[in-house]
Point group: C2
């Protein structure tokens, strides 16, 4: 027996993997290798983009052995000043030696933007391997290849060939994107939303520098207050997860994972990587504390808000909704409800105070309809913010300068530290200036109700994630660490018993007479099943007879089992009816042990309605899995049925995850069905697959995740 | 027997309901009643907003009986020129008489912006009734009350108190919003997206002018090319549906329906109306040809595209995807897949042609990764557009002026009439100017991949809707029009037989001996059920025994039925196993007869996974219902199971709808389960509820719609 060490909990004092990327993102000197004076060339575009660095007094060297006006090599450039970063603008076959030369000359970081590597197949694979070998030999840090580079405006470095990148303002938002194109697309969207960037990185093929490295770097970057993370595929799941888990207590991370639908062929052509499971990646990032969004607009809304403000950690923060127009307020409320935001009724005290401030006919319970805003609006904001149930304010108003200077009123409202998000409807320079003023005052501002809802949703998710107790060993719990296969159903259920998971009373019988005794002892109606570790799908071969209550029926059932080759029988008391769940633990090829929960039955399976956690998982975190299911209502007293004890389910799910984590030989354990009855959860069947089991049935064991 | 006349099919020559709204939206003269010179007053704001009308030479009169510098009444104003429109800025109690005075003086239309009517309760209800009485008596058309008015820039009329409304440019987009606030919010969002408005209307309480009136008006408005429709609640479902159905063949309608989640109390306080079923409203609008979207951003993307271009009607148009950067291209492809867009592999000819134009390493099958765009890009667009499988192009590129003038290249590409949507990433004036240039060239342009996907999704939905055959009577089909209750299961199944819906072979028996004969005649395994029109939930009282095959078992089953009071029995051959559906028709309080399809079982029910059509519905339209179900995969050979004949299901669903439409006394018919077997669909049970049936069980008959 052993106790599981949690993976998500960073060890204090543990050195951050990836090391220092300052040479890459804040170099003292830069050499452009393959610099060109022909305008259409990459080497020319890079030299032009980076020229601002020279203007700031950094050592900036153009290197081209075939151009006598330029440095012949990095070593020559390094003789005139420190070269930390080499920007390699040479063809793919020439890159490995250019990288080695740069390292030899003292450069500690390099960027390769060009393509022609693993994403291209053929010789490109060898070129990429050669790059990797140079980084391993020399320790030089390499960004790329196959990326449009990075932008570090605070350091004056625009290592990007995309025009316009050099005009990105320095700011507080960091972008860490799998793709160079997405990196730029997002940085530009942030600019449109009024935000500058602290650092914007496109990882490309990620030979050396990958997302965890950059995330670790950002943890200590004083300019960065929020991180936008774009994920295509994940090579090292645990490393990504632990980097995110380390960062999120300090800075919010908002993640966009591509690949919800089948984009496989095109995706493979992009970086040469296979797609990672979209669901599992999202679950892993969520568990690590990231706010996971569905598209790039939600990403911009979420990061815009989180770069400006964070809520205090809370289990379920309350939202005060203020609107100057009922119609947009309804859109906002509808959207917030879809994000499971809590919009609590305001206290009688608050409502009384509001009734003094507002016209009598408006709705004042929450949402608060301010009617046409007037000078009282500052007081209205302060009053709602002071309500003990309110942790954040969501507001929408049309720009109506005739009635009031709304921006000044909101900025001037004393909300006692309660954050505010504002949607300001309107068009033209005055409205845009208003949004900028709000943002400068620390109030995220957007153009429409949806933007407000997306921002609020992100603030809530972030606050809830930080409120979750850190994953730690389940106190006093231990799990078997000696599980080897094969397991028949009874052995599997014995194992569940040891884990504290209820199973029905049962008897293993090797004869008809023993089965008759078992029937008498168990009483009532029983299930009669073939017992054989090599039969995983008993029902398919007629190996299960339910509802047997008389010796005659028992005899008939046993003879039928004999006819399909049964040598032993499992006689088990029938469980009461209820709602069937499927709970399992398995190994994800990227993220390692995971726990999965779904509803039973083919409908749930066809919908792929499943909640996922990385294992080990705390019982309290696992207890939140059921509410993620689309069919969650079935577990909450549906039509007078039983109500799930989510804490008990959390313990069960955590135990399965611990089991897998503690037993490397264990491939998968699935409890199917795990029945929710009026007496609680009962495991009606279980399958355990170990590495030795040939994984005969792995194909159809679980819905697609 | 009768044949059903379709409701969606407009009768040629039938006068358009609602009549002429030209007096409202393009008046010759306007009187502001209650005009004020006190800046904060509504009467002052309205006078200021409308002052532009005077500047264009319209007759513009300020009326206030207490201000001797103004006209004392509308009649006096009308003496100096025609007054078509009266804008009433007087308190609610004074509005009815002011409206009557205006009508008396010859005004043919009026706007009441103020509140204090039905939404406020109390006396407001009486004030609203009084307004309605005046419109009925005088024929004057009234917009409002409780709205921020309307903007008609082509006519120079800004009947809105919202600052900034007067600056909205004339354009092609019409906004028809339930709420005055949403009307303005949307008009401003369209302005931000580069579009002017033809007309923007907030309906408010909708005492007289409602959405169908405005939609009918827009059908003949030469300025309008697309309509944004915002719906909160629907008072007259059939009228709204027929107005949309009349308009969509001529102009695209994009609809946003609020109320997916519970917003009831606040919504009721807004307009005094009860919320209409969100699902049914969306289904009805979709069926009428509208593009129904989920939020205001998708609405802006959809309308922006459809105001500029429409595809040719097609069952499943093909999308050619072009991207200059693979990463954003993946986001775009993933998003398009989520909208069920077809991205067909390009023909070998096209791929050959592309391989001449593009670098060898890029993906060229569709999506087409152009790599960094160069002068060949016009030819690339033309080549993909020429592919026979491609009906529309979706493109994304970062603004890279160093490489190419992308906007000129795209505008100059000869796509042979194939529409193009472009996402142009970047920030700053040059990029914004580029997007404007594209739009002016008839190419919808947006900032991000999601915007491209949303625009393409709208174009596809619109093209598919116009390709659907118009609803018309099912040729050669007729349905009983004499259905009265109560119906026992056998009578219900006889009715299904008459409709052409398969039912299992069965016998009605009133004695044990008759049942034994039936068992012999039917052969195999049978179901034995209590037969009683007053027992709707037979299973709950132990009234169903399945799998009976021997005389002994039959006798036991019959005795058990006798014990629960059975007087007659239904003996029925057991159907093969399969996938259970629920198919029903019922009366929606707003939209009238509807047909509903869902999967059987509690999981599907808890998910409210249901497809809805208004009845009568064509068989071909009903045949598309299954693919709208989240669990649709279960009906398409899931794990080797049967494949649904969607045409047969469409006939069945259409027949049920026709039945309800033809029988006013029929409240509901539900076939549950309708089993999909390897031999096709079989109705295993059916319940018919007529008005006389007291609707004993209506509460739990169906999932929430």
């Amino acid at each position: 027996m052993t106790t599981i060490a949690p993976r998500l909990h960073p060890t204090p004092g543990h050195p951050v993997p990836g090391g220092d990327l300052a040479a890459l993102f804040a170099p003292r000197g830069i050499a452009v290798v393959g610099a060109s004076r022909a305008p259409g060339k990459l080497g020319a575009a890079m030299a032009r983009s980076l020229s601002g660095f020279a203007g700031r007094g950094g050592h900036f060297a153009l290197v081209n052995s075939r151009d006598t006006a330029l440095y012949p090599n990095v070593a020559a450039a390094a003789a005139d000043g420190p070269i930390d970063l080499a920007v390699l603008c040479v063809p793919a076959p020439a890159c490995p030696s250019a990288l080695a030369d740069a390292a030899e000359a003292g450069a500690r970081a390099a960027v390769v933007c060009g393509g022609g590597f693993a994403e291209a197949g053929g010789d490109g694979i060898a070129h990429q391997r050669a790059l990797a070998a140079v980084t391993a030999d020399t320790g030089i840090r390499l960004l790329g290849p196959n990326t449009s580079g990075f932008i570090a405006p605070h350091a004056g470095v625009t290592a990007s060939f995309v025009a316009g990148a050099a005009h990105l303002r320095p700011g507080k938002v960091a972008v860490v994107a799998a793709s160079g194109g997405v990196n730029h697309a997002l940085a530009f969207l942030f600019a449109e939303a009024g935000h500058g960037v602290s650092l914007a990185v496109g990882l490309g093929n990620g030979v050396d520098v990958t997302a965890p490295d950059v995330l670790d770097h950002l943890a200590d970057d004083p300019e960065t207050t929020a991180v936008a993370l774009h994920v295509e595929s994940v090579s090292d799941g645990p490393r990504l997860v632990s980097a995110v888990a380390r960062l999120t207590p300090r800075k919010p991370v908002v993640a966009l994972v591509v690949g919800r639908h089948d984009i496989g062929e095109f995706a493979a052509s992009h970086t040469g990587n296979l797609a990672t499971s979209w669901r599992t990646t999202r679950a892993a990032l969520t568990q690590a504390g990231a706010v996971v969004v569905g598209d790039e607009r939600e990403l911009v809304d979420a990061v815009s808000a989180l770069a400006t403000t964070r809520l205090h950690p809370a289990a379920d923060p309350g939202v005060g909704v203020l609107t100057a127009q009922a119609g947009p307020g309804l859109l906002l409320l509808d959207d917030l409800r879809g994000r499971a935001a809590r919009v609590p009724e305001l206290t009688p005290n608050t409502q009384n105070a509001l009734s003094e401030l507002l016209p009598p006919l408006t709705f004042q319970r929450n949402p608060v309809d301010t009617g046409r805003p007037g000078p009282e609006i500052s007081q209205v904001f302060a009053t709602v913010a002071a309500d003990p149930a309110v942790d954040v304010l969501a507001a929408y108003a049309l720009h109506e300068p005739d009635a009031i200077d709304l921006v000044a009123a909101i900025v001037g409202a004393d909300t006692g530290g309660v954050p505010v998000v504002v949607g300001l409807g309107g068009t033209g320079e005055a409205v845009e200036a208003g949004r900028r003023s709000l943002l400068e005052a620390g109030i995220p501002a957007t153009t429409d109700p949806r933007g407000v809802a997306a921002a609020i949703g992100a603030l809530l998710t972030d606050a809830q994630a930080r409120h979750r107790e850190p994953d730690r060993p389940r106190r006093g719990q231990s799990v078997p660490d000696d599980v080897t296969g094969p397991h028949d159903e009874n052995q599997a259920k014995d194992l569940l018993d040891r884990l504290g998971i209820a199973t029905p009373p049962r008897r293993v019988c090797d004869s008809h007479s023993a089965a008759r005794v078992a029937l008498t002892e168990l009483g009532g109606r029983v299930a009669v099943k073939v017992l054989d570790a090599h039969v995983l799908h008993k029902t398919d071969i007629g190996g299960v007879h339910l509802g047997v209550s008389t010796p005659d029926d028992l005899e008939a059932a046993l003879r039928a089992l004999d006819a399909v080759g049964a040598r032993r029988y499992l006689i088990e008391r029938m469980a009461p009816s209820g709602v069937d769940l499927v709970l399992g633990a398995r190994r994800d090829p990227v993220f390692g042990p995971i726990v999965l929960l779904g509803l039973g039955g083919t409908t749930a399976e066809a919908l792929a309605d499943v909640a996922i956690r990385l294992a080990p998982v705390s019982a309290s975190d696992a207890a939140a899995m059921p509410r993620e299911l689309a069919g969650a209502a079935l577990l909450d007293g549906w039509r007078g049925g039983p109500v799930l004890d989510t804490a008990a389910l959390g313990e069960t799910a955590a135990a399965l995850g611990d089991l897998l984590a503690a037993n490397p030989a264990l491939e998968e354990i699935e409890v199917n069905p795990l029945r929710l009855t009026s007496n609680g959860l009962v495991a009606l069947d279980a399958v355990i697959i170990t590495h030795q089991d040939h994984k005969r049935e792995a194909d159809d064991a679980q819905p697609d995740q």
